[in-house]
């Protein structure tokens, strides 16, 4: 436990004494603020303005009732898309966050001491993972803060429905946790940070674009099913809409635990590969 704490503390400090955490946080806060503002100021308010007209048209023309023109509701209209965009942003930022976690220890040779201190590989991996999760948690908290802003300014409050919003936040957190765990695999595989980041990015990107096949036309049903099953981003779409399925949560937890397990195994492998 003390060893775990020692590594965890060191890693967190490492993040904030090097520029990495700041770069990631700054990029993320800029992009997340940007997409939030776009969604809120333009898409949502425009729709609110147009809605009375649409309502009138709907009353005159019953055909329009079949089309989907929901009551302007921020939570339903904006949050799923906003969180979907944030997920893509994460795909670009997570490789930066995880690239040096273990590869740098390999490059500097400091891993030799870690291997000979009285501690287990599990402690090493978990402590480092938790430290990365600290940075990611800051990112998630920032998003929560954004969601609170509209309520400050509206008189009635209740712009954001917190029940579906928390499902979205949960989905975002699970998605990020899974991405970081995947990044750890590649960080343990190489001693080169760039290679580690590039491989992580490639895999995350693939797990995003593979989901497009699930929506595409002219694609066989079985393929769509496979695409849906392995896509890391599609899994969160229901959570972002406020629909919590246990299967989605379990999926992300499995990816996370599985990736960390592979990471641990690859750390151990030096003992028999030598």
């Amino acid at each position: 436990m003390k060893a775990f704490l020692a590594i965890f503390k060191r890693e967190v400090k490492q993040y904030f004494t090097s520029p990495i955490a700041y770069v990631v946080l700054v990029i993320f806060s800029f992009l997340s603020a940007w997409f939030y503002a776009i969604g809120f100021l333009f898409q949502f308010s425009e729709y609110c303005e147009q809605y009375p007209m649409i309502q009138m048209q709907m009353q005159q023309n019953p055909m329009m009732m079949n089309q989907n023109f929901p009551v302007p509701n921020f939570t339903d209209l904006i949050i799923p898309g906003y969180f979907g965009t944030l997920s893509i942003v994460l795909i670009f930022l997570v490789p930066l966050l995880t690239m040096r976690a273990i590869s740098e220890e390999k490059r500097q040779g400091t891993i030799e001491l870690l291997y000979t201190y009285p501690l287990s590989d599990l402690q090493v991996v978990l402590a480092k993972y938790m430290a990365s999760m600290v940075v990611f948690t800051l990112m998630a908290l920032l998003v929560v803060f954004y969601l609170m802003i509209p309520d400050f300014f509206s008189k009635e409050g209740g712009v954001v429905a917190w029940k579906p919003a928390s499902s979205a936040i949960l989905g975002f957190y699970l998605f990020g946790a899974a991405c970081i765990a995947i990044g750890f695999i590649f960080s343990a595989l190489t001693e080169n940070q760039i290679v580690s980041a590039a491989l992580t990015f490639t895999l995350l990107l693939f797990m995003w674009v593979v989901g497009w096949a699930a929506q595409g036309d002219n694609i066989p049903e079985q393929w769509k099913k496979v695409a849906e099953a392995v896509s890391l981003t599609n899994r969160s779409s229901d959570l972002y809409k406020g629909l919590v399925h246990l299967s989605d949560i379990v999926f992300y937890l499995c990816v996370m635990v599985g990736s960390l397990f592979i990471t641990m195994r690859s750390l151990e492998s030096h003992r028999w590969r030598a």
Binding site: K2, A6, K9, R10, E112, T116, Y117, P118, L119, A274
Partner: protein, 339 residues
């Protein structure tokens, strides 16, 4: 304190060490001597639990390094060969980290760090980033890290490699002072280092132990011959003949390498003598009587090479005795079939 029996380690199908066995008594400083690639690091990594041996057993402080690794690790302080440190930490925070990771908590930790900082002479560097330290100070930080949990056993892999002469001297005396009651294994490829710091020496060559003894015994063993280097100015050819004529002198040769080609600085003669009787005085007088100037006369220092050659030939003699004339080849990396 440390018992190593028949350790073998294969990298793929190549054996890095074969049948390595030695013992280290409690409180002893053992010099682990061998040229680069001999298998020193490999052996030390097995002892520290970095990786397991392919076969054989090793016990540290009574605990098996395979089955009771955690107990072993708690009792060992290890300084790896290239002194890997977290270079963007300060000395203080790094040592605090090392202490915590070794399970020292709270106030004890502060005390432990303070102690190793003052023991290793790091007081003035406490707040400096490790990457801003000289190599000598980094070595001290590495030592401090190894010592912070006050381990019974200290394993130092080439602690003086890459340092300048002043730093080497400092680190050697530091190791000697800090060893205290600890059991120390110190690897090196420099023979004099062993004589300065160690009680006993194990020589490893091409993955095998070829000698284990006190240094005094090793440098005298089978030493019926010595060699002296005489720097002579004058008619060197004549001197050579005169010295050769002294009864007992084994051989005389000119050392052109050491003479650096300038006759005004004298020429170096290598004179082979028996250890008994001592003929050095006679040789010196013969040179001066011949009219030439004797500028310098010294016994040649026994080098690692000499000890090797002696140990290897002794080994071969033993083996060929037991194998009844079988020729043992000395080829370096004998391919050993994968087990």
């Amino acid at each position: 304190m440390i018992e190593v029996e028949n350790l073998c380690k294969f990298y793929g199908s190549v054996a890095a060490i074969r049948d390595v066995s030695f013992h280290v008594e409690k409180g002893e400083i053992l010099g682990f001597l061998g040229p680069n690639g001999a298998g020193k690091t490999t052996t030390m990594r097995i002892l520290t639990g970095y990786f397991p041996a392919t076969s054989g057993t090793a016990r540290v402080a009574g605990f098996d390094v395979f089955n009771q690794l955690d107990e072993v690790r708690k009792r060992i302080g290890y300084l790896p060969e290239n002194v890997p440190l977290y270079t963007d930490m300060s000395v203080d925070s790094y040592l605090d980290f090392a202490a915590q990771i070794k399970g020292i908590s709270g106030r004890d930790r502060k005390q432990a760090v303070n102690k190793v900082v003052s023991d290793c002479g790091l007081e003035t560097m406490r707040h400096r980033l490790i990457k801003k330290l000289s190599k000598g100070y980094r070595q001290r930080v590495g030592l401090a890290q190894a010592l912070v949990n006050d381990p019974e056993v200290l394993i130092l892999d080439e602690p003086t490699v890459g340092l300048d002469p002043k730093q080497i001297k400092e680190i050697r005396s530091l190791v000697k002072d800090l060893s205290g009651r600890r059991t120390v294994i110190l690897s090196t490829h420099i023979l004099p280092e062993v004589s300065m710091t160690c009680n006993r020496v194990v020589i490893i060559h091409q993955g095998r132990i070829i000698a284990a003894d006190t240094l005094a015994n090793l440098t005298q063993q089978n030493a019926t011959n010595t060699e002296i280097l005489a720097t002579v100015r004058g008619d060197v050819d004549r001197v050579e003949n005169i010295v050769r004529a002294i009864p007992g002198v084994r051989n005389v040769a000119r050392d052109t390498e050491k003479s650096n080609g300038r006759s005004d600085q004298g020429q170096v003669l290598r004179v082979g003598l028996p250890t008994e009787p001592d003929l050095r005085g006679k040789v010196a007088r013969a040179i001066t009587d011949s009219g030439a100037e004797l500028i310098d006369l010294r016994s040649r220092e026994i080098t690692l090479e000499d000890v090797f050659i002696r140990s290897i030939s002794a080994e071969n003699a033993r083996e060929s005795d037991s194998a009844e004339g079988m020729v043992i080849s000395e080829s370096s990396h004998v391919e050993v079939p994968r087990q």
